[in-house]
Amino acid sequence: MNVTLNHYLVVSVLLFCLGLFGVLARRNVLVIYMSLELMLNAANLALVAFSRFNNNLNGQVMVFFIITVAAAEVAVGLSLIVALYRKRQTAHVEDLTSLKL
Protein backbone atom coordinates (compact mmCIF):
# COMPACT_ATOMS: atom_id res chain seq x y z
CA MET A 1 0.00 0.00 0.00
CA ASN A 2 1.37 3.36 -1.01
CA VAL A 3 1.08 6.35 1.29
CA THR A 4 -1.16 8.85 -0.46
CA LEU A 5 -2.40 12.34 0.25
CA ASN A 6 -5.31 10.73 2.08
CA HIS A 7 -3.09 9.30 4.77
CA TYR A 8 -1.52 12.65 5.54
CA LEU A 9 -4.90 14.38 5.54
CA VAL A 10 -6.34 11.82 7.96
CA VAL A 11 -3.40 12.35 10.31
CA SER A 12 -3.91 16.09 10.01
CA VAL A 13 -7.65 15.78 10.74
CA LEU A 14 -7.05 13.58 13.77
CA LEU A 15 -4.41 15.94 15.10
CA PHE A 16 -6.74 18.90 14.63
CA CYS A 17 -9.48 17.06 16.51
CA LEU A 18 -7.07 16.26 19.34
CA GLY A 19 -6.26 19.96 19.60
CA LEU A 20 -9.93 20.86 19.57
CA PHE A 21 -10.59 18.33 22.30
CA GLY A 22 -7.81 19.89 24.36
CA VAL A 23 -9.39 23.32 23.94
CA LEU A 24 -12.78 21.99 25.00
CA ALA A 25 -11.76 19.70 27.83
CA ARG A 26 -8.80 21.32 29.54
CA ARG A 27 -9.31 24.18 31.96
CA ASN A 28 -5.82 25.62 32.19
CA VAL A 29 -5.29 28.63 29.92
CA LEU A 30 -1.76 27.55 29.06
CA VAL A 31 -2.77 24.02 28.10
CA ILE A 32 -5.62 25.44 26.02
CA TYR A 33 -3.07 27.63 24.28
CA MET A 34 -0.85 24.62 23.62
CA SER A 35 -3.85 22.78 22.13
CA LEU A 36 -4.38 25.76 19.84
CA GLU A 37 -0.78 25.38 18.68
CA LEU A 38 -1.51 21.72 17.99
CA MET A 39 -4.46 22.70 15.78
CA LEU A 40 -2.27 25.19 13.92
CA ASN A 41 0.31 22.47 13.35
CA ALA A 42 -2.35 20.12 12.01
CA ALA A 43 -3.28 22.73 9.41
CA ASN A 44 0.41 23.10 8.57
CA LEU A 45 0.72 19.37 7.99
CA ALA A 46 -2.24 19.42 5.60
CA LEU A 47 -0.72 22.35 3.69
CA VAL A 48 2.67 20.65 3.35
CA ALA A 49 1.00 17.44 2.19
CA PHE A 50 -1.02 19.32 -0.43
CA SER A 51 2.13 21.13 -1.50
CA ARG A 52 3.98 17.84 -1.96
CA PHE A 53 1.24 15.98 -3.78
CA ASN A 54 0.38 18.90 -6.08
CA ASN A 55 4.05 19.40 -6.85
CA ASN A 56 3.90 23.07 -5.96
CA LEU A 57 5.97 24.96 -3.40
CA ASN A 58 3.38 27.65 -2.63
CA GLY A 59 1.93 25.58 0.19
CA GLN A 60 5.30 25.37 1.88
CA VAL A 61 5.75 29.13 1.67
CA MET A 62 2.32 29.46 3.27
CA VAL A 63 3.42 27.17 6.12
CA PHE A 64 6.55 29.26 6.52
CA PHE A 65 4.39 32.35 6.96
CA ILE A 66 2.06 30.53 9.33
CA ILE A 67 4.96 29.46 11.53
CA THR A 68 6.22 33.03 11.69
CA VAL A 69 2.81 34.46 12.52
CA ALA A 70 2.30 31.72 15.10
CA ALA A 71 5.56 32.66 16.80
CA ALA A 72 4.42 36.29 17.03
CA GLU A 73 0.97 35.18 18.18
CA VAL A 74 2.42 32.96 20.91
CA ALA A 75 4.50 35.83 22.26
CA VAL A 76 1.53 38.21 22.37
CA GLY A 77 -0.85 35.59 23.78
CA LEU A 78 1.50 34.52 26.51
CA SER A 79 2.17 38.09 27.55
CA LEU A 80 -1.61 38.58 27.72
CA ILE A 81 -1.84 35.50 29.95
CA VAL A 82 0.91 36.86 32.18
CA ALA A 83 -0.85 40.24 32.40
CA LEU A 84 -4.11 38.45 33.22
CA TYR A 85 -2.41 36.38 35.91
CA ARG A 86 -0.97 39.54 37.44
CA LYS A 87 -4.44 41.05 37.69
CA ARG A 88 -6.46 38.00 38.71
CA GLN A 89 -3.92 35.53 40.18
CA THR A 90 -5.37 32.64 38.21
CA ALA A 91 -4.73 30.78 34.97
CA HIS A 92 -7.94 28.79 35.14
CA VAL A 93 -10.72 29.57 32.67
CA GLU A 94 -13.48 28.88 35.16
CA ASP A 95 -12.22 31.73 37.34
CA LEU A 96 -12.26 34.20 34.48
CA THR A 97 -15.97 34.94 34.33
CA SER A 98 -16.12 38.71 34.76
CA LEU A 99 -17.68 39.10 31.29
CA LYS A 100 -20.43 36.61 32.10
CA LEU A 101 -23.91 38.03 32.48
Binding site: T4, Y8, G22, L30, N55, V61, F64, I67, T68, A75
Partner: protein, 172 residues
Protein backbone atom coordinates in the same frame (compact mmCIF):
# COMPACT_ATOMS: atom_id res chain seq x y z
CA UNK B 1 5.55 -4.43 -1.03
CA UNK B 2 5.66 -1.43 1.27
CA UNK B 3 8.58 0.89 0.85
CA UNK B 4 10.74 2.00 3.71
CA UNK B 5 9.42 5.57 3.57
CA UNK B 6 5.85 4.28 3.86
CA UNK B 7 6.85 2.42 7.00
CA UNK B 8 8.45 5.61 8.31
CA UNK B 9 5.23 7.49 7.58
CA UNK B 10 3.26 5.14 9.80
CA UNK B 11 5.90 5.36 12.53
CA UNK B 12 5.95 9.17 12.53
CA UNK B 13 2.19 9.53 12.13
CA UNK B 14 1.59 7.14 15.02
CA UNK B 15 4.13 8.95 17.19
CA UNK B 16 2.61 12.34 16.31
CA UNK B 17 -0.89 11.23 17.23
CA UNK B 18 0.25 9.41 20.37
CA UNK B 19 2.25 12.36 21.67
CA UNK B 20 -0.53 14.75 20.67
CA UNK B 21 -2.98 12.70 22.67
CA UNK B 22 -0.65 12.63 25.65
CA UNK B 23 -0.25 16.39 25.32
CA UNK B 24 -3.95 17.23 25.52
CA UNK B 25 -5.33 14.37 27.60
CA UNK B 26 -2.59 12.72 29.59
CA UNK B 27 -4.30 10.24 31.93
CA UNK B 28 -1.37 10.22 34.34
CA UNK B 29 -0.54 13.87 34.78
CA UNK B 30 -2.37 17.16 34.36
CA UNK B 31 0.71 19.21 34.92
CA UNK B 32 1.18 21.86 32.19
CA UNK B 33 4.91 21.05 32.03
CA UNK B 34 4.08 17.47 30.99
CA UNK B 35 1.79 18.83 28.28
CA UNK B 36 4.52 21.17 27.06
CA UNK B 37 7.05 18.35 26.89
CA UNK B 38 4.68 16.12 24.93
CA UNK B 39 3.94 19.04 22.62
CA UNK B 40 7.68 19.26 21.92
CA UNK B 41 7.70 15.55 21.07
CA UNK B 42 4.62 15.97 18.84
CA UNK B 43 6.31 18.79 16.97
CA UNK B 44 9.51 16.80 16.48
CA UNK B 45 7.62 13.79 15.11
CA UNK B 46 5.75 16.16 12.84
CA UNK B 47 9.08 17.44 11.57
CA UNK B 48 9.76 13.81 10.64
CA UNK B 49 6.57 13.83 8.58
CA UNK B 50 7.73 17.06 6.93
CA UNK B 51 10.99 15.36 5.95
CA UNK B 52 9.00 12.49 4.43
CA UNK B 53 7.10 15.11 2.42
CA UNK B 54 10.44 16.51 1.19
CA UNK B 55 9.90 19.78 3.08
CA UNK B 56 13.41 19.77 4.51
CA UNK B 57 13.65 23.46 5.28
CA UNK B 58 10.28 23.48 7.00
CA UNK B 59 11.27 20.48 9.10
CA UNK B 60 14.32 22.40 10.32
CA UNK B 61 12.26 25.54 10.93
CA UNK B 62 9.63 23.51 12.75
CA UNK B 63 12.21 22.16 15.18
CA UNK B 64 14.09 25.44 15.57
CA UNK B 65 11.11 27.77 15.93
CA UNK B 66 8.45 25.57 17.51
CA UNK B 67 10.35 23.00 19.55
CA UNK B 68 13.04 25.55 20.32
CA UNK B 69 11.80 29.10 20.65
CA UNK B 70 8.03 28.79 21.14
CA UNK B 71 8.21 26.00 23.68
CA UNK B 72 10.92 27.78 25.65
CA UNK B 73 8.59 30.77 25.92
CA UNK B 74 5.79 28.44 27.05
CA UNK B 75 8.01 26.89 29.70
CA UNK B 76 9.12 30.32 30.87
CA UNK B 77 5.51 31.37 31.39
CA UNK B 78 4.68 28.10 33.15
CA UNK B 79 7.64 28.76 35.42
CA UNK B 80 6.53 32.36 36.08
CA UNK B 81 2.94 31.44 36.92
CA UNK B 82 2.81 29.11 39.86
CA UNK B 83 0.38 26.49 38.56
CA UNK B 84 0.55 23.82 41.22
CA UNK B 85 -3.07 24.14 42.25
CA UNK B 86 -4.34 23.23 38.80
CA UNK B 87 -3.88 19.51 39.29
CA UNK B 88 -6.30 19.41 42.20
CA UNK B 89 -9.31 20.69 40.27
CA UNK B 90 -12.13 18.31 39.54
CA UNK B 91 -12.94 17.45 35.93
CA UNK B 92 -16.35 18.42 34.69
CA UNK B 93 -17.79 15.06 33.53
CA UNK B 94 -20.65 16.48 31.47
CA UNK B 95 -18.43 18.91 29.62
CA UNK B 96 -15.87 16.16 29.02
CA UNK B 97 -18.48 13.79 27.55
CA UNK B 98 -19.92 16.57 25.39
CA UNK B 99 -16.40 17.42 24.21
CA UNK B 100 -15.62 13.80 23.32
CA UNK B 101 -18.91 13.48 21.42
CA UNK B 102 -18.51 16.74 19.52
CA UNK B 103 -14.89 16.11 18.60
CA UNK B 104 -15.44 12.50 17.52
CA UNK B 105 -18.38 13.64 15.40
CA UNK B 106 -16.22 16.28 13.74
CA UNK B 107 -13.43 13.73 13.22
CA UNK B 108 -15.87 11.27 11.64
CA UNK B 109 -17.22 13.89 9.25
CA UNK B 110 -13.78 15.14 8.23
CA UNK B 111 -12.29 11.67 7.77
CA UNK B 112 -15.30 10.64 5.73
CA UNK B 113 -14.90 13.77 3.60
CA UNK B 114 -11.20 13.09 3.06
CA UNK B 115 -11.70 9.43 2.15
CA UNK B 116 -14.55 10.29 -0.25
CA UNK B 117 -12.16 12.15 -2.54
CA UNK B 118 -11.54 10.79 -6.03
CA UNK B 119 -8.45 8.58 -6.09
CA UNK B 120 -7.10 10.35 -9.18
CA UNK B 121 -6.89 13.60 -7.25
CA UNK B 122 -4.70 11.98 -4.62
CA UNK B 123 -1.87 10.59 -6.70
CA UNK B 124 1.44 12.37 -6.92
CA UNK B 125 1.31 14.93 -9.76
CA UNK B 126 3.62 14.15 -12.64
CA UNK B 127 6.55 16.29 -13.64
CA UNK B 128 9.80 17.25 -11.91
CA UNK B 129 9.25 16.98 -8.18
CA UNK B 130 9.29 20.20 -6.18
CA UNK B 131 11.75 19.72 -3.36
CA UNK B 132 11.42 21.87 -0.25
CA UNK B 133 15.10 22.71 -0.16
CA UNK B 134 16.32 26.13 0.87
CA UNK B 135 17.24 27.23 -2.67
CA UNK B 136 13.87 26.75 -4.45
CA UNK B 137 11.98 27.87 -1.37
CA UNK B 138 14.11 30.99 -1.04
CA UNK B 139 13.68 31.77 -4.72
CA UNK B 140 9.89 31.56 -4.50
CA UNK B 141 9.86 33.44 -1.18
CA UNK B 142 11.88 36.40 -2.44
CA UNK B 143 10.30 36.56 -5.89
CA UNK B 144 6.58 35.81 -5.70
CA UNK B 145 6.12 36.44 -1.98
CA UNK B 146 8.35 39.43 -1.39
CA UNK B 147 5.61 41.81 -0.20
CA UNK B 148 4.06 39.35 2.31
CA UNK B 149 7.56 38.65 3.55
CA UNK B 150 8.20 42.33 4.24
CA UNK B 151 4.78 42.71 5.87
CA UNK B 152 5.65 39.75 8.05
CA UNK B 153 8.78 41.47 9.31
CA UNK B 154 6.68 44.50 10.27
CA UNK B 155 4.24 42.14 12.01
CA UNK B 156 7.08 40.70 14.06
CA UNK B 157 8.18 44.20 15.03
CA UNK B 158 4.61 45.11 16.02
CA UNK B 159 4.32 41.92 18.06
CA UNK B 160 7.59 42.67 19.82
CA UNK B 161 6.51 46.21 20.74
CA UNK B 162 3.11 44.92 21.80
CA UNK B 163 4.59 42.28 24.06
CA UNK B 164 6.87 44.81 25.73
CA UNK B 165 3.91 47.12 26.28
CA UNK B 166 1.71 44.30 27.61
CA UNK B 167 4.28 43.06 30.07
CA UNK B 168 4.83 46.44 31.67
CA UNK B 169 4.01 46.43 35.32
CA UNK B 170 1.42 49.23 35.43
CA UNK B 171 -0.80 48.25 32.52
CA UNK B 172 -3.27 51.07 32.07
Amino acid sequence: MPEFTDLLFFVFAGLTLLFGFLCVANPLSRNPVTSAMFLVLTIISMAGLFVLLHAFFLAAVQILVYAGAVMVVFLFVIMLLDLKEEARRKLNRVALTAGVLAVSGLAAILVRAVTAARPAALALKAGPLAEGDTAPLGRILFQSYLLPFEILSILLLVAMVGVILLSKKDLR
